[in-house]
Symmetry: D2
Subunit: 306 residues, 4 copies
């Protein structure tokens, strides 16, 4: 009967296998997949609604998904949804929650007693402030300094917990007792997001410059969850987003000269952009030039000005 085209729910056996399983992150954090909706197949299904009968003969699913990612036709990816159970330090959660296009239920320390666990740093995990990048780190402290830092961290975390317990024992309201908990305290949350917004999260948080902690979570979500859930999308996302390079108008102008062998003209153009100011026989720091140089390195292209 025409009116009765019964459907079955789409499921992804590889993801079902890890449903509910704790994927560990950091010293005491985790990610668990609680539920999901859709798959690579439903992205294609949604795209074909947009394109209607016209696409019947269109290239196969993989080609379509790659096309959608490449051209930022993002709505079909919104048709997939995933719900994760997370355990993260509050400091990391502060960054995470800035991604607004997700649904969230967080463990309430107003209602319940704060989780008795905090992010602890091993002696070999203390990171040195980066010189060039105010918000980055480079390298680790030697173990002797690390030992000291870890001891002090432990003292502080213990003292904070002691005071929290003291307040609770005296009968201070939970909503107030929690006020001095350290940011390293773990929290838990259900976090539900569609695939489009999840990929955007991963793009920003799997990136080199993302902070180590949230990057650790993002890597697990990408490499252990999305890769199983929507493998074709994951491959396309790697090819077109994670491993892509974007060149600005200025960079394109220089690339043209480099290709046609006009080295001096390439230098002149870069100079006209103010990239090649020299002080004491060295180029002054110029972020646009330095970022371009990094991209040239990735393509194995020599800098014209060296």
């Amino acid at each position: 009967m025409n009116n009765f085209e019964k459907l079955d729910r789409i499921f992804v056996p590889q993801l079902d296998e890890i449903l509910g399983v704790k994927l560990p992150v950091l010293n005491d954090g985790f990610i668990r997949v609680v539920d999901y909706m859709g798959s690579d197949e439903s992205i294609v299904q949604a795209a074909r609604v947009s394109y209607g009968k016209g696409t019947k003969k269109m290239s196969e699913d993989r080609g379509l998904i790659r096309y959608l990612i490449r051209h930022q036709h993002t709505t079909p990816f919104e048709m997939c949804e995933i719900k994760l159970h997370l355990r993260v330090p509050m400091d990391t959660w502060r960054q995470w929650i800035r991604h607004r296009t997700a649904n969230v239920n967080e463990y309430s320390t107003r209602y319940s007693i704060a989780i008795d666990a905090s992010q602890k740093t091993k002696s070999n995990e203390w990171r040195i402030q980066a010189k060039d990048n105010k918000q980055g780190s480079e390298g680790f402290f030697p173990i002797e300094i690390g030992d000291k830092l870890t001891d002090r961290e432990s003292d502080l975390q213990n003292f904070a917990r002691e005071i929290y317990q003291e307040r609770l024992s005296l009968g201070v309201a939970r909503e107030q007792a929690r006020k001095d908990l350290p940011l390293s305290t773990y929290t838990e949350a259900y976090w539900k997001v569609d695939l489009h917004n999840l990929l955007h999260f991963l793009k920003l948080r799997m990136e080199n410059h993302a902070q180590f902690e949230i990057r650790s979570y993002a890597n697990v979500i990408g490499n252990e969850i999305v890769k199983k859930w929507c493998p074709i999308t994951w491959e396309a996302f790697n090819d077109y987003v994670l491993n892509s390079l974007t060149f600005s108008y200025q960079e394109n102008e220089i690339l043209k000269k480099i290709y046609s062998g006009k080295k001096q003209e390439a230098i002149d153009i870069a100079d006209s952009f103010g990239w090649l100011k020299i002080v004491d026989t060295r180029f002054t720091k110029n972020i646009e030039r330095m970022e371009f140089e990094e991209k040239l390195d990735k393509l194995g292209i020599d800098k014209p000005w060296e």
Copy 2:
């Protein structure tokens, strides 16, 4: 093993039964449930994450869901998601799409040939402009007038389709050929939304003053889909939202006087709000008073001023 608390996906057998089935609306529209995530149970599950262990002993699921609806603790309802396949007239879709918190893939008349179906009005379905409400209707035209209106509607829809076909035959770009299609033309879309936002949609669109067409769709979604999907939530939504009454500060002041039998004081207060202006021995139209009178009627309370 501690690390392995395998989960199964939540499913709702009553909803699975109608998955993919066309629920007809209007002359040629429909709604199909394509997929869903969650259930009444997952709302409770999400709420308990927020409340932590503290709620282990808390009242049973129904009580919790009712509490959440009553106090507009909306985030647990966002943990449920549903994906519908819709066929609606573009005129109705124009209203529908104004609900922004949903994911949408619409059939593209830029890419494909427009669906060859339009909303047709039967002779007994032509509605008379309401006098009091500029955006409403009241009653139907007699069948003789209806016959004429339906004939003319048919003429217009046929002519519009003829011209559309003419353009396509000549090779006019589809993106331009469609420009004069009537708003009654059907479109199709995948529409994915979380339960919280769906309930908000239903609150506005199942309401008496919502236009008949979109109300027809909302009624099917509410009474034939949500009721099956999350029956406890549906009951609470009916009790606390659809069938509730809200009284303003002013109305509360009058209700107090009515209860304590001080009829004249009730009248004086209403008068002080400017509700009881009289012209030619009749109250002038005052929307705040009239809306209050409607609520009094629902509670079987006499108007003090009559």
Copy 3:
């Protein structure tokens, strides 16, 4: 010339007067209005675009705004926008940021050194855990206990800052050094939101059960900012939202009986809802009944069952 209907920007002199001025909150927090767009007048202007020429004769502005608030026609209120500069404890910010429909730029402790200020609690400000409400407080501790709590708070905050400084001195990356800062540490942010979403924030956060800290901020925003910015809207919001009462289907059924003097029938209905279970000659705790009793109190109505 028809094509040239030059406009001036809308401004609100009362709000301009406090632009940039610090409105203090808590021991070291503040709110400053940085910029805004629109006014009561622009809400009316936007509504009249929706209603077109048809509303020329419609009732005056105040009536229109009240109508919009009453019927939750929220889009015209989205046409007003305000940008605030906030200084709040991170613990409060954790609640604040859950309101997703706002634009945010927060002070980065990854990039810069954390603000050297934390929320301090005076001896007479320590709150006792509420018995009935797990997430509330009731009353304050006597000053002797408060003294001790305040001393210990001070010890912890000093120790935490000491360790933070120690890490920075050693050269620990700022993004890591901050990990154990107490939640009481102040953060700053630019927070930009439209009036509709701001009113929703105020509805939830000016409410009795909102935590004292965020309520303090909400009160300043409502009573010192919105009231100046959009006085007509503020009045309507008070009348129809803050000071309104909503009755459920069940409550309406009982109200009908009360108002028609049928006390026993009112009791019977309440009993049929399971509200009047008795153990040891007292009603058992039933939240739905208790919330209804609170509303009856506000209307000066006697409980039928007492």
Copy 4:
């Protein structure tokens, strides 16, 4: 006094000059700037809140804005807001409204009589369906065919208006009378959006493949409004977004070979991606290869396989 750092509102004289002025689009559409909040300066101001005191010495404003655009640090751009009054054909509005992150008040044909204007196509404006791109057009019809199409368009629009008037005269409810209006009918709306989301809109709608009609509006917004409002941002957006080129992982691999002069290896790699299948001595259609070739053209680079 420290507590009183009075601010003035930020204004942009160049934009104030065109406030309220109708910028014409299509035969009878327009865009008017109604109000705005912020400027290039407020983007910098917001970014510096994020970066705190640390940026005092940071490079000047232009460098900062360019950095923010380049690295997709989008939140500071959300601090600027603009409100436009639009008049667009409903067909164009259907595409426009799909951008969900904006505030909208549209003219209501339920409440008022539909605007008596429709998008008319001149004889030389009829576009031919593109062969390669199902959703595109290429070239125009000769004037003789255009004349005929324009006549027929006129017939249809007149007939549709006649029937609409007929219904209104008979007293059909406005909400129903409008049901067969052609999509070419103009509608009006207030559309308010932040600069980040506006730039995203412009990126998609100023693009070559965007439909002519919406592209016409996007061009006016970009080149006549944003350019005046935030000139530094506009320049950066052109350099880093509109005029940038992005290369996928696969394309980077080929570029490496090209730049190191290894033509055959470049061909082999492309072949391994399946880009160089040959049927009847010609490459088969392969979209990924063709899109890469377009980019090579822009950089003046010869295709290795030609």
